[in-house]
Amino acid sequence: MLEIFSYSFMQRGFLVGNVIGLVVPLIGVFLNLKRLSLIGHTLSHVALAGVALGIFLGVYPVSLAIIVAVAAAIGIENLRHSGYRGYAELSLAIILASGLGLATILISLSDSNVAVYSYLFGSISLVTRQDLLLIVPLGVVVGVGVLIYYYGFFSVAFNEEEAQLSGVPVKIFNIIFMVMVAVVVALSMRIIGGLLISSLIVLPVAASLQVARSFKGTVFYSMLFGVISVNTGLFLSFYWDLAPGGTIILTSVSLLLLTFVFKGIKRVSKIKELILGEKRVGNEKGTG
């Protein structure tokens, strides 16, 4: 067995990391396509306030982060559909600023700087059994839920009015989705860190959009890139003693850059083929 897996905290880290690496990009696909990735960013700062409150009060921080983030998510969802639709972006900025402000004050009041640091930038060595027992089941529930109701979420993301006509309960889907975003963001604080989660929401999906040719493909590649980023990041952070969150994010940035290169090469070879008049590509479609 590799040395890295002989530590029980690393085993826990990998287990939690892989759940997060699958679920965050899965949620991220829908969030990005609805052009709501700012909400993920906002909720991560609100969750940070929850964590700081937990540390300040001496309560398990992740559970408080979940409660605070879910409450904020439901509030945001209601705002989004109220008469103040036009101010949605402004209200997000206000909520984000309040969350971060509150978090900063609470952090300065408490004296456990190590704990706070681990929630800001992520940590593997501090993943506890309690984290494991909360994060894994909740993550699995969210992941399985989205995959089962995949076509419903797909319809709502594409066009809410048409989704409603197809018989999708759009309002319920929207609320459940927001709650899931909040839960997933709060759960990821432990390993990715509050300041970096929104990158894991955006980057694997952006990379996936470069290579996928269907919605199914987009979901598949997003989750694949998420898992690759998390595992590579955890390995590197263990052997080189780096912050796991940062390593995971930089890995996903590299993956995104690689997809750009891949796409560039494909385009160049296509142009070459056009110029040389080769017709190999024309017949790849098949009968259908």
């Binding site: 076509y151 048409e162 018989g167 269907s214």
Partner: protein, 251 residues
């Protein structure tokens, strides 16, 4: 013949201004109807009322004998909205996925695309001659091709009533002819009731059974394909202004 839609003394206002006032209209099974009238005369609003997205303040709308807002058999009504093509064009969905997602209600508990449902998607795409494009991203098609995909999307649920809100804006002549060919086939062979909103009176009047004109928040009774359309629009605009005295804002 049975009445599919029955609208009685129905009035609707978005906020304080009436958009539709005491409208009466009956649509029979198997009819092909056109709604015409100037911008802002309430045509799209009436579609949304029929679909149950909006609720009338006065009077009622019944569809298959039930209040429109309680319409449960969603699959029986197909709808193509006026801004159906304003979607995010980088949305990574294929034609097949867009059409298939409309079968949501028929997917059962685990919401899976069964082979039977896939067959229906293929049949709908074949009807609009878009089967070859099934695996293409929707954003990479031309406007007219997208239009056909959205028609296939409504057809896949095998609806009895189809509402089309200005489906031919920005569609070239040949594609318009194709469109009418498909629509006429649906109407004649499958007996589907169709209501279509259009500003092109001369073309649409040669296609439909009946024209319904909107004017001054009401349905104008003296309406035919022969009258002076430009004069009608001018008059209708005036009456709409009387109805809506204050600010007139965009959708």
């Amino acid at each position: 013949m049975n009445e599919i839609i029955e609208i009685k003394e129905m009035s609707f206002a978005y906020e304080e201004k009436w958009v539709l006032k005491e409208v009466n209209l009956a649509v029979k099974e198997g009819e092909f109807l056109a709604f015409i009238g100037p911008n802002g005369s309430g045509k799209s609003t009436l579609f949304k009322l029929i679909l149950g997205f909006l609720k009338p303040q006065k009077g009622h709308i019944r569809i298959w004998g039930k209040p429109a807002e309680k319409l449960s058999a969603r699959g029986r009504v197909g709808y193509i909205s006026q801004n159906v093509r304003d979607f995010n064009h980088s949305f990574p969905a294929t034609v097949g996925e867009i059409v298939g997602s409309n079968l949501y209600q028929e997917m059962g508990f685990f919401k899976l695309m069964t082979p039977a449902l896939t067959k229906r998607v293929n049949r709908a795409l074949k009807l609009v001659e878009m089967l070859d494009f099934k695996d293409k991203p929707i954003g990479k098609l031309s406007g007219g091709q997208q239009q056909r995909v959205f028609i296939a999307r409504t057809l896949v649920t095998e609806p009895d009533l189809i509402l089309l809100d200005e489906p031919l804006v920005g569609v070239d002549q040949e594609a318009q002819n194709d469109f009418y060919r498909v629509i006429n086939q649906l109407h004649r062979e499958l007996g589907i009731t169709i209501i279509m909103i259009s500003h092109d009176l001369h073309v649409i009047s040669s296609q439909v059974n009946r024209i319904v004109c909107f004017r001054g928040g009401k349905i104008f009774p003296h309406c035919s394909s022969e009258f002076d359309y430009n004069d009608y629009i001018r008059q209708a605009r005036k009456e709409d202004k009387l109805l809506i005295p204050s600010h007139q804002h965009e959708e």
